[in-house]
Point group: C2
Chain length 463, copies 2
Amino acid sequence: MTQQQEVTIVRYEVCDIRFPTSKHLDGSDAMNKDPDYSAAYIIFYTNDPTLEGHGMTFTCGRGTEVCCSAIEALAVKFINTPLSTLTADMRKTHQICTGDSQLRWIGPEKGAIHLATGAVINAIWDLWAKHEKKPVWKLIVDMTPEEFVACVDFKYITDALTPQEALEILKANQATKAQREVEMRENGYPAYTTSAGWLGKETVIDRDKSGRLTHHGSLFFMHTGYSDDKVRRLCREAKAQGFTYFKQKVGGDKASDIRRAALIREEIGADGVLMMDANQIWDVQEAIDWMQDLLPFKPLFIEEPTSPDDVLGHATIRQALHPHTKVATGEHIQNRIIFKQLFQAKAIDYCQIDSCRVAGVNEIMAILLMAKKFDIPVVPHAGGVGLCEYVQHLSLIDYICVSATIEDRVLEYVDHLHEHFEYPVVIKHGSYVAPLDPGYSITMKRQSIDDYSFPNGRIHKTN
Amino acid sequence: MTQQQEVTIVRYEVCDIRFPTSKHLDGSDAMNKDPDYSAAYIIFYTNDPTLEGHGMTFTCGRGTEVCCSAIEALAVKFINTPLSTLTADMRKTHQICTGDSQLRWIGPEKGAIHLATGAVINAIWDLWAKHEKKPVWKLIVDMTPEEFVACVDFKYITDALTPQEALEILKANQATKAQREVEMRENGYPAYTTSAGWLGKETVIDRDKSGRLTHHGSLFFMHTGYSDDKVRRLCREAKAQGFTYFKQKVGGDKASDIRRAALIREEIGADGVLMMDANQIWDVQEAIDWMQDLLPFKPLFIEEPTSPDDVLGHATIRQALHPHTKVATGEHIQNRIIFKQLFQAKAIDYCQIDSCRVAGVNEIMAILLMAKKFDIPVVPHAGGVGLCEYVQHLSLIDYICVSATIEDRVLEYVDHLHEHFEYPVVIKHGSYVAPLDPGYSITMKRQSIDDYSFPNGRIHKTN
């Protein structure tokens, strides 16, 4: 590329990358028995050999090839497009993916084609940020309120949030933005560590001089399949390590759930925070009845009590359990339109966005703004592969530009598969260190891409 | 296969079949500009060379390959499975597709993977019905209420309809079922013909001795792109031919919509039925404001006023426009859980199910039952390719077993692409003749499959 030439996308590569995690995990719950944490991954190559845009959507093994097929269908639209054309109107760039008149039929804005949109749009943000030599969060934080709003597709959400209201939210935070950026650069964004009992290993993130964990908070997952003795022992060990948040998987057998909730509460004490996660196992009335019996153990919230599509169901459940426990959901919520309704119907207390189930950065910006208007804390879904790398940017954007608070926010951290990324997340003193490398932190090492490519990578060949 | 051997699925074939209809259509609306009516098609082969199961999901061209990839991911699960194992528990067979712990991530129960489930499940019903030497509608009509209910997955809908309530609906109709079956065999199911102005051709279905059309009702589409003179001329011609239902595409330009609605109403008179279709073009308040200005022309309903994901939005629109016009939607509604909420929230007046967007026959059975309970007429979406062949079975099942009425029902018929099917729909005296050939009427001619296979079929090579 000569200096006169504009940066232009010239080709792309789509990779089906699967980590055989089901071989090592105990498995977590009835719905997600044996995930092989995977990525439908795209690289946009440009006429500048030093500049690439990387993006991925998270998947669970089988079905990654379906998302890869959907990514191909979208990526081809961007060939021979100058980057400046795409970045001049990011709302329109987003709509190139969501508005294809033929592809729209297989969504619209949901399922495989929308997961693929997440990968493609995020890759364009990664490319833009790398070109600007900034991390994605900083690229967005540096936008004026008008520029921020211009990235958002307000289609189908204006009954909940108008562009004018969005502008007012952002403008109100403008004067104090720099101060929050400094704070984040100095202290990072508080992390809650997920040490998963079912991972079968102890996860140690960061200790102070005395050897104690220095998490702001920490979260300990309990697999439903463990014996009472094992749960008790794991609770004690986790508590001794400084863990203060405990998440119990529920929904298998009610008597067991009650017995186990009692013993966890006994072990963690009145101060320990107990969360419950049902992974969509219940129907609406079943969720209410089951949770009634678990309320004595004072869970902070019940996560995914029923189908992610059931706005009214979540509202009914929340109403029945309020104020004894809260309702959280989001990792399976398909798009901004369902989030809008969850907010409108007062159906949830925590908004657990997934960075690549919805259509990438632009749609996340819409959801952050709606959550702010409806005063619901955004607690991104992390874990899997690549999700921690993505969400650190989103929480920084949320705090610096939109919500302007970290109260009641939980940014999950799972110590898993980070070694495959060029710029993995860094946790220090219990916080995510604000990433400073250009891009969206999602660039995977070439060796990892090659080794874990399915079905022909080294790992899959030799296993 | 020897006589002792059970019928068993031994292999499958997945075909990407595309009809280049965008070359011949004027195009219908802003959202679906240039559909290439397509099918992601599957054939299950058995150990009996005379017995195959065929199924498809309808698509619009690009993206068919994504659905084909999803069909592959599901179809492989059925290899070496005896048919009797699948038919012994059709609820479980349905759940084999919807419950895969890894594939579930790329849905759940929505988008490409759910469209694929529709194709696969329908192919199994086709196989079963062919083995029983019955059409699919008759296979189901012959079920006891208990057997019917056993096909339905009630997961996530029991707050709207319990298995017991479903049983009661079916039992109440049991005594008069045979009588309705006789009626359908004699008279067929009333068809409303869609002659599409934008197809650029006159569609003549059936005339009586005097040469007049004998439709029970008929529907004439008006493309937004036509001049006022052309619309006026088309209205006169259609009315002279006996058309009584007219559908106006709206949402492009409000002044044009108003002017055109006025002249259509003038041409069709007070007795002509005017429907309006917005193809999801509006936000919620926009839909209300726009329709307020069209109410003077007395539209029967507004179809797809906003996003198919927006249950609360549809409810708001319906409430604002009630009782001056009605609200219809369905062809883009992803699954029974969204339909449930549309019913619960009193958000729609007509339920326009799509036979292969939801997960095939089983999920349709669930929706028919819920619609009956909430007293909402089911008006299947037809047209495209293969949809008329499918929906004739569904309306027969609805009438004979579930709703027990044809009042306010409209079974659309479009005279398009039927020549590619082995057992195409037959219209006689303005009604769908009850199909008697074994199976689900969806078996495509081998020559058509080969000619229209994308990208290597004869049609695509030579064009």
